[in-house]
């Protein structure tokens, strides 16, 4: 039997609230399938399952808030049946206050309720999932019963949670932990981008805006390729040791329009050609802003890249997102005086910075990594 535990959807998450089950007991689930929607402090996230199996029991209900790592469902592995496995006790439910003992008088004289509002079982179930008070709705079903459609309509009109405040708290927790635990060191390197931008201008010329590449994609690709040679910056510090990551999934810091920040993972950056990478990046940014990220995107990032150059700052020294061990910052891309071949010239440049965890790597290693990023960007054809 497989215990499916509430996964951590980012270092700043220590508990989550189940919003909705997407599976039911008896259903077959496949690896990668979305099984639940969980509200983290930052967003409502589609949680994926990482094993094949058949759902045995759902251990928590929509509305329950449980710590990360709590078993929330059990799955049968192939060959198992409900009879052959030992079922665990259900997760502890939040304690409910015991009903106050009613006085004999009131029990004896209280008239039994003559009727209660007509709410269909399906509507009642969904109302509980969505946190809608079905008793207050007027129904459109038979005899004025509240139906599932009535609950859905009410849920759509309901006010969203105060996500902004919750996100602020989550960022505060993660960044405090980072600065408390991670001994950061910082390096910076000004990278000439004349060749890269000329290549990009030639590539984009004649293309419709939908097909154009942004400089940011070249920079992400260069960082990812450099990480292949500098694996000690790509991974996690966990249980007192560095654990290198298998893939190169770059967390892309996305500022949300309503405030706050989220850094979902762009998967397998080193392996993708630039055009699909650009499409994936556009899709990721858009979904980050509309709040429809998948759990793997929130938890998979192996190194984060933040590009604040658009805001006009020359450089950024970031705070590492734990348990990652490094963060690359990119400042404003602008034409600056530059010396090349003993002559002063005008060159588009950007400052690349590295904030890295000194427990996992040293400055010398980090400097070589930044030099490799710089080298790669001089030959944009190779990206």
């Amino acid at each position: 039997m497989i215990e499916f535990k509430l996964p951590s959807l980012g270092a700043d998450m220590d508990e989550g609230t189940l919003l909705e089950w997407r599976i039911a007991p008896g259903a077959a689930v496949r690896r990668g399938q979305v099984v639940a929607v969980v509200d983290t402090a930052k967003a409502a996230v589609d949680v994926e399952c990482w094993q094949d199996g058949t759902v045995l029991d759902l251990l928590i209900q929509p509305g329950d808030k449980v710590p990360v790592g709590t078993p929330i469902a059990t799955l049968l592995e192939e060959g198992e049946t409900a009879e052959t496995v030992q079922r665990p006790a259900h997760a502890a439910k939040p304690a409910r206050p015991a009903a106050a003992p009613r006085s004999a008088t009131s029990a004896a004289f209280a008239a039994p309720p003559t009727s209660r509002p007509r709410i269909s079982p399906a509507a009642r179930t969904r109302a509980a999932e969505r946190g809608v008070d079905a008793n207050r709705l007027s129904g459109t079903g038979p005899q004025g019963a509240v139906t599932l459609a009535d609950v859905e309509a009410a849920a759509r009109q309901a006010k969203p949670l105060d996500r902004h405040a919750a996100m602020r708290q989550a960022i505060a927790a993660a960044m405090s932990r980072s600065k408390r635990e991670i001994p950061h060191y910082y390096l910076a390197e000004t990278v000439p981008l004349g060749a890269a931008l000329a290549w990009l201008a030639a590539h984009n010329a004649g293309l419709a805006p939908e097909r154009r590449l942004l400089p940011g994609v070249l920079l992400l690709k260069a960082v990812a390729l450099a990480l292949r040679d500098y694996p000690q910056l790509n991974g996690f510090w966990q249980d007192g040791a560095f654990r290198p990551a298998a893939g190169i999934h770059l967390g892309v810091a996305v500022a949300l329009r309503q405030g706050g920040l989220i850094a979902p993972a762009l998967h397998d950056v080193a392996d993708q050609p630039l055009t699909p990478l650009m499409e994936a990046l556009g899709d990721l940014v858009q979904r980050a802003r509309s709040g429809s990220l998948r759990s793997s995107e929130l938890s998979d990032a192996t190194l984060t890249v933040t590009q604040l150059g658009d805001q006009g700052v020359d450089g950024v020294f970031g705070v590492i997102y734990p348990p990652q061990v490094a963060l690359v910052g990119v400042g404003r891309l602008a034409e600056r005086p530059w010396v090349e071949g003993g002559k002063l010239c005008v060159m588009p440049t950007a400052q690349f910075s590295l904030a890295a965890d000194h427990r996992a790597s040293d400055g010398h290693y980090g400097a070589r990594f930044l030099a490799e990023v710089r080298r790669l960007l001089q030959t944009p054809d190779s990206l």
Partner: protein
């Protein structure tokens, strides 16, 4: 297409990217990307939306002309007229 129509399409494209923008309060002589807080990805999506709505494909070489909303509207009117 007259100026009012162009204006409507531009605002519709803009609100697709920055839903919080209110056309009345936008200062049309200021730097558009600062006024609406568009990063480079937003800007590209904005241009893609204009391309779809108006059929005007704005090349990268012309980006520097499109500083303010006024400049953008004038540029689009000129492209659509030719």
């Amino acid at each position: 297409m007259d100026d009012a129509q162009i204006r409507r399409e531009v605002f519709a494209a803009l609100q697709g990217i920055a839903p919080e923008v209110e056309p009345e309060t936008l200062r049309s002589d200021r730097l558009l990307r600062d006024e609406v807080d568009l990063d480079s990805m937003d800007w590209l999506r904005f241009l893609a939306a204009l391309h779809q709505r108006l059929g005007v494909n704005i090349p990268e070489a012309d980006y520097q002309k499109l500083t303010s909303l006024d400049a953008l509207l004038a540029y689009l009117a000129e492209r659509l007229a030719s």
